[in-house]
Symmetry: C2
Amino acid sequence: MTTRSRSLTSRQQEILDFIGQTIKHESRPPTRLEVCAAFGFRSPNAAETHLRALAAKGAILLEEGRARGIRLPHAAQGLPLIGRVAAGSPLLAAEHVEARCSIDPALFSPPADYLLRVRGMSMRDAGILDGDLIAVHRAAEARNGQIVVVRIEDDVTVKTLQRKGSTVELLPANPDYQTIVVDTRRTPLVIEGIMVGLIRKDS
Amino acid sequence: MTTRSRSLTSRQQEILDFIGQTIKHESRPPTRLEVCAAFGFRSPNAAETHLRALAAKGAILLEEGRARGIRLPHAAQGLPLIGRVAAGSPLLAAEHVEARCSIDPALFSPPADYLLRVRGMSMRDAGILDGDLIAVHRAAEARNGQIVVVRIEDDVTVKTLQRKGSTVELLPANPDYQTIVVDTRRTPLVIEGIMVGLIRKDS
DNA sequence: GGGAAGACTGTTTAAAATCACAGCCTTCAT
DNA sequence: ATGAAGGCTGTGATTTTAAACAGTCTTCCC
């Protein structure tokens, strides 16, 4: 990695959020003076130094000499689409990101953090077909009846959650498939996220 | 309507497309000089007059005195979401537009022209459930086997198309529903578009 | 055949926006 | 206690942009 992406201060995060909101609502980044107006700064240099700090931390890119020359780095644009997941590595590892889709995360609620390509027909009767992309909100907890993305040992799967004490049932939505029963005292099970929507591209 | 939206010349359409592409790729509108560079104009006034013409026709909004002050009118932003369709009026009539969704039409191919909220379970086995939004590409023709949006007299429905001479069969994807058979010599049938994708928002 | 609309070149001016320089104050880790 | 980093005010030079003015050439319509 060339640019180290250090953590932002809360003020810097506010500025970054404002930039994102401005691009979303006005279809263009703000000027230094617009940042000043939004935060009540009296000096354009207050905005300038904040932008420099954000650029130094890799949160934005500054094009010098151009009006409204603030860009969000490519990584921040669009939702990552996760394809086949290799055993043992984290879901959002870079090698799993097949593409980035220009979809507004706020289209779904709670907002989507990534898209996951579903393999197989185990959720057919829930209207989830082979090849569909599901929008996933990252969460470690979920309620019974929600469709979740779970990792059991090194396997990632999409099923309806049914918790019964220390036992977790993962229900398919297809009579051809069997319910997976996991004893969490013996087998590690991690909830990766909750399904918040679905996108299908017909070919 | 306050602004009359006359048709654009081909050159004006090119300029408008360039503006749209620039906003999409660079997250900001172009300057006059950037328009000049893109089209090989030697005078910034060439860009200026084109922008004036586009603004006069309502294709863009110009904010005076601001750098990169070109905006696309609200109607051009996001796909229209069509809800319940009233009998007899065109599908894309303003009163049917429930909302606008910030989804890139090019997410689908061929690109989506609008979203339609599906009612009922007649396409359940095709993974289309009640309340789902389908992305539709406007087209008057379709091939057999494609899922289409059709209007039969004053009714709009989503089914799989099966043409047999002058007879058209509209196949549901659910054994509880019956195939609709239409003799196009007697009953007017209009193909409104082809389904190119689906979006579901879980609640 | 005259006039309006479209598609440009070329030049200039004024405003908008970037960005450098010089400070002040606070917090926080060494 | 000292220096570095964050978060500002205030000023001004310089560049980028917008936008006005003055033309040329063509097409298409009445």
